[in-house]
Amino acid sequence: MKLDGAFIVEAFVRLLGAIPTTLLITFVSVACGFVIGTAAALLRIYRVPVLHRLASAYVTFIRGTPMLTHLFLIYFGLPYVVDGLAELLGLGFRSASIPMIGFAYLSFSITAGAYLSEVVRSGMLAVSRGQLEAAYSLGMTTPQALRRIVFPQALAASLPNLSNSVIGMLHGSTLAFTVSVVDINAKAQIVASTNWKFFESYLAAALIYWGLTIAIERMCGRIERRIGAYNRGGVA
């Protein structure tokens, strides 16, 4: 077998078109996951009655099951729920009109939310109690203290973990091909299906993923330096 260099280049170029889909899945799931995760983290930190148990159950169940399983549960389970509700309420909407990528968005957001809740929680726990007390001593309300004092520092403390999660979701987004979403990985399969040069095609995909990962690392590094400028402590 001989490596077809020209086809790697050709595949690479054709795969570029799938980058937006992959990035969209990644960023939608990280963004929604961040909101879900922050809510779950707050519920657990403040031990909100009943809800903090639900949040804990959510985190352990999602982290205890594979991301692909979440996708299948949503893909096969959601239509029942949607169609059942639509019928009950007499709406014309049917699950068949949900775009495939919608399942990926929802499922991966739920996945990311569980992992990000731990990222957010560890970030908030990294902020010393004294910061909150100082805010309270000035007469700030809890939401003011969280927004102005705790969250900015928690975000700075959790950035390394956060960039890890973004990269994890980028790579995890390949699973979307199982529900017929054409991301970079799926596109690689399609590109190779005419001449069976799968290795070349997937090699091109690997290069693109690597490039995207490096870009994310750089971006996070830059943000880290910027919002962590106040921090000249630590052991490193």
Partner: protein, 250 residues
């Protein structure tokens, strides 16, 4: 001005404050001294409800808050009447010196930015840090950080300032600069309650000294009297560890 009525505080089964009653008049500088674990810091933190008293009543100015049924809004109003200087400074780490002082003014007092800035700059100059406005706390010495902490507390124009062992975390050579700042504001007639281990400073600055031991106030009085002629055996014992008897000059 500030009054505590039968304030009690327990952590689990351990009662740290055993019914403290204390009255502080406007303009007074009260030093609270005593062995560690005597409840001094807890007492101070009960005044702004950073520790919620188990029972009793806290009165600051015209606002009386009872421990049992303290509403969130009452606690907030109470906290806005005082400000606190912490042993570990607790400056906001992600904000510069200037932003630290401005924060309470813009967020809590809702002052326009320009006005908050002007007042903050003036206060930082007053504590000798006019050249460090844009420095982050991590770049400053403990003494500088604590002086910013004092400026932050002053900025709120509180009815009283609560200082919790303001020099205990400092290197010995930095204690002086912080005490000098406190000495200056004491002269301005601002009401202060200082928990401290600096006996000679307490003697110099305080208009009244309160000696606490094991969750109770053992005795109180003007510094000259309390340090020179303590009435209680426990006070005598405590003071003897700081200096040989009779060496305090008045």
């Amino acid at each position: 001005m500030i009054e505590l009525k039968e304030v009690r505080k327990s952590f689990g089964k351990q009662e740290v404050l055993k019914g403290i009653s204390l009255k502080v008049e406007k303009g007074e500088v009260v030093a609270v001294v005593g062995p560690s674990g005597s409840g001094k810091t807890t007492l101070l933190r009960c005044i702004n409800f950073l520790e919620k008293p188990t029972s009793g009543e806290v009165i600051v100015g015209d606002l009386a808050v009872a421990a049992g049924r303290a509403h969130r809004k009452e606690v907030l109003a109470l906290r806005r009447k005082t400000s606190m200087v912490f042993q570990q400074y607790n400056l906001f780490r992600h904000k510069t010196a200037l932003e630290n002082v401005m924060e309470g003014l813009t967020v809590v007092r809702k002052l326009p930015k320009a006005e908050a800035r002007e007042r903050s700059v003036r206060l930082l100059e007053k504590v000798g840090l006019g050249a460090k406005l844009d420095a982050y706390p991590s770049r400053l010495s403990g003494g500088q950080q604590q002086r910013i902490g004092i400026a932050r507390a002053l900025a709120m124009e509180p009815e009283a300032i609560l200082l919790d062992e303001p020099t205990s975390a400092l290197d010995p050579e930095l204690v002086g600069e912080v005490l000098a700042v406190i000495r200056n504001i004491a002269k301005e007639g601002i009401t202060m309650i200082i928990v401290t281990h600096e006996m000679s400073f307490a003697q110099e600055v305080a208009s009244r000294v309160v000696f606490m031991d094991q969750g109770t106030i053992v005795e109180e009085g003007p510094p000259g009297e309390l340090f020179a002629r303590p009435k209680e055996e426990r006070t005598r014992l405590f003071l003897s560890r700081f200096a040989p008897e009779g060496s305090y000059s008045i």
